[in-house]
Symmetry: C2
Amino acid sequence: MSKDSRVSKDREGTAEQDEQADQARVSRRDFLRLAGVAAAGATGAGALGVLPALAEGTPPFDQEFDIVVVGSGAAGAIAAVIASEAGAKVALVEKALLFGGTTSKSGGVYWIPNNKFLRDAGHVEPREETLHKMARYSYAARYNEKDPHLGLTQAEYDLLVALYDNGPTAVEELDRIGALISQPADKPFGPMPDYFEESKEDKVPVDRRLWSKKPDGSFGLGDEMVRQLKAALEKRQVPVLMGHRVTSLLRNARGEVVGVECTKMDKSKVRLRAKRGVIFGSGGFTQSKDLVQQFQPGPIFGGCAVPTNEGDFVYMATAAGAKLGNMSSAWRAQIVLEQALQFSSTPDDVFMPPGDSMILVNRYGKRVVNETANYNERTRIHFVWDPTRHEWTNLVLFMIYDQRTAELYGGRFPLPPTGTQAPYVIKAASIPELANALGERLGKLEGKIGGLRLGADFADNLSAQIERFNGFASKGSDDDFRRGEMLYDRLWHSHVWSYPNPGTSHEIGKTPNVTMHPIDAGGPVYALILAAGTLDTNGGPVINAKAEVLDAQNAPIPGLYGAGNCIASPTGQYYYGGGGTLGPAVTFAYIAAKSAAAAPEKAPA
Amino acid sequence: MSKDSRVSKDREGTAEQDEQADQARVSRRDFLRLAGVAAAGATGAGALGVLPALAEGTPPFDQEFDIVVVGSGAAGAIAAVIASEAGAKVALVEKALLFGGTTSKSGGVYWIPNNKFLRDAGHVEPREETLHKMARYSYAARYNEKDPHLGLTQAEYDLLVALYDNGPTAVEELDRIGALISQPADKPFGPMPDYFEESKEDKVPVDRRLWSKKPDGSFGLGDEMVRQLKAALEKRQVPVLMGHRVTSLLRNARGEVVGVECTKMDKSKVRLRAKRGVIFGSGGFTQSKDLVQQFQPGPIFGGCAVPTNEGDFVYMATAAGAKLGNMSSAWRAQIVLEQALQFSSTPDDVFMPPGDSMILVNRYGKRVVNETANYNERTRIHFVWDPTRHEWTNLVLFMIYDQRTAELYGGRFPLPPTGTQAPYVIKAASIPELANALGERLGKLEGKIGGLRLGADFADNLSAQIERFNGFASKGSDDDFRRGEMLYDRLWHSHVWSYPNPGTSHEIGKTPNVTMHPIDAGGPVYALILAAGTLDTNGGPVINAKAEVLDAQNAPIPGLYGAGNCIASPTGQYYYGGGGTLGPAVTFAYIAAKSAAAAPEKAPA
């Protein structure tokens, strides 16, 4: 039982749960294989588009439904369950051969403000105050607390209102109908802070994270969330068509979306009518090099989004004249460069580099960021362009650590379990030797990283940097990047990303700041190479508060709905806290299903 | 004769030319007024799109041409001249009431590698070497010198080849037909370095900048370039329809673009047939808050692009199913925040903050960038997100200077001419008083800048920062940001952006680094607020090496061509040197015209 890819996500750390996690990992491996097949078997973006309006009188559909849902992650599965519950005849189509999309690899946490568990526990969370919090960070440069819409456009404001108003309802309805049983994710450590912890608007931080409850009452990760939703679909006899890649939207003469054409693994095509609407929950475009290049602000090497997340919806929606939005944004995290170069759909992301005797440095041996800052924001440091050197100066960062961190935190991704090795870890007896080995490794990779090399003074700078960091660790405060100053840094470090292995000779609690311990540069010392990645992108067609996809004139495209990572995130560039991806996905999937189920039936041609 | 908005662009600095520049400024003022009217009189993005295929048999066109060109800046005007020269019947339509677009406000410099003036002077510039230079900076994270396509996709590579191969030809043909007479822009200071000056690929930096030659042999700015091109159109009797905003593409039943529908100032509509093609040269989307929000990676407050550059082509091309690219990029420059808040189409951009006893600091009173780095790259520092403070920490930067800089460089934008005042300049007797005044000013603006305030230690930090900078100035080297180390920094500072006023008591040449002089913090001291802006954006529909606009499947959309800032820049995120915007615009406008003129005639319905 290898632990080198232990799930680095919300977890409790018992042996039983380690076992659960390892079983989940097998599923993920299957997923990668099967999804990879699906992706390879399909035809690439070249086939994606919109077909001409169907000729009247022809019966062009192989099957007829009220609603067709695309994608089997949380967004798609929830949309299908809720639409079915509303009385619609629903089909769900999935491009891969494994159900669950990126949700199945995730921690399965959903961020829901003002949820019933908080309310039941007496945590009052007023609408107005929460909207201020969300607006401030989602639109930081425009936020205006005195403006009726807080400096946002009406459309942006309405999406945040919809998130606040519908999130709790969605979770309660899913629970009531037995489709997804939720519980607070605040055990066993008590509430964990959101990512806007220090904001003046967030004076009473509460843990808004929920996750699924297993039948035995224990917590569920993403695979459990997917299991419950899949069972709910089966119970409702919703057809689930696996290995069906939606390659075209079908429209009638009025331009309404009335169905989809799918391409199956054997290249045959199937046309599904959707009398009331098509709902996309098909994931982002992390795995499309083309779309990443055209829309992202800096180099991204991959991410843990499943291989099928190639932005199919962006291509089809573009062809349908949809308005694109939030395209330079993503749910960001660091990834292990060499894993991503092998296969851009990485097994896991680096949510927080584990370790206290550990730093991240750039090619000049200099720290550039608070290593314990949340992943979404920390990763943006890779996109700093140096105008004097004309380079992506932080294109890759080196995670440098010592024997203490290797032993005490081994097994926390990306550290290999104590005593084992990982091909992407470089070990050396001293800092100069480490620098040499790292330089050699970069030499082998140079064709894939723009020829990046270590600066000439790397080893000297790194030694000086370690000495400076060690001073910060000893006194407990980081004069350069404030590591460990925030509650987020300390709690997520201690309880989630860097919980210590028992039974080593190393102690914690002896330094004034739990996130920092002096690095023993005497050796052995270690390095691994990190780069910018994503959980997935979060730009795509823009929706309104009814989850209707909009055209360039901000008018809904009739019959077309979206939720999750395939659409322009209603939360903009910000990630509110643990579950900040799935919370809005759950909410807008719920809204999309309600909207589509209530939509009028459309003529097929 | 006010000098406070003296053109901050390539210039020679004689009194006669100052006069020319001031005359040009009057034109720009007229332009702003007229273009503003046009923009206000038009109907917003709500009307932009693609009309359904025209019914067969109807004669729907008001006028028929072979080629319709949209936009009267360099790209549009050159496309129209060349197409006409190729024998096509051409019309040019312009949304504004003044001819020339953003080109008329520009320095009128075009960057053309391997141009005839260089060749005639014996500067050999091999194709392969130049392609390496371009590829390295346009695609810095993927550049691979050993790869046949240098790490680029075939499509990206082909665009760079097209730029190298066609740029010189375009300039020569324009000269030969008398449409645009060029000359090297290397007078009177000798060659000025490109923006990739220090690259190892650019061992023999030569000045690739050209600009127009006036009839008297003197140099021409953008207004002269526009004057010549307009005269060339008149000579060829090409109809120029002013105040015509293209609001729809017209397609035939085969999906080919066969014309445009224009909306005039009085809201009436005109349909123009384009038998062979429609060429867009209509500018970027700087003045569309919607598109900036959806695609740019950080807050942009405006830029010197004309008010009509609202991204009309992005909306129409989206509706036509075009593939968008380079959307997170722009030709970047800093702008004066308070000018941009008044009117997002600013009179001018801050290409290099003038002055030697001058620094830029952020809200914490800290320098964050080499003030003399080129504008395109320097401005990206505004987009650094601080993951610990959860803020755009450089959302605005403060240009701090002393009496020396005010007097010696007064008149270099944004410094008001010596002895005059500008409303956006804050003057105080001391650093603490300056900090107070700046704090008050920010308080008045807070609703428009996300509530940004000065850090509590701003005044103390600023004093310490000045002391540190003064040490760098005295010894001649900037340990923090290498200001003045590069040839670009020194030459462009001395000769273009910060040439000194004669007749003051201040001397230059007494410090070892011409870009730095100690700041006299004893007072008076000055501050003004800078923010991120653009010359214009450079993302939009993707073209191929024939300047054909591509659809999501990378297939040309028949009949649709583009060049200039309205399309995805063939040079990606990089700005090669002075004229890096207009050089590719000239080249691909030339290519588009040749392609469209050679295209087959299309059925109208």
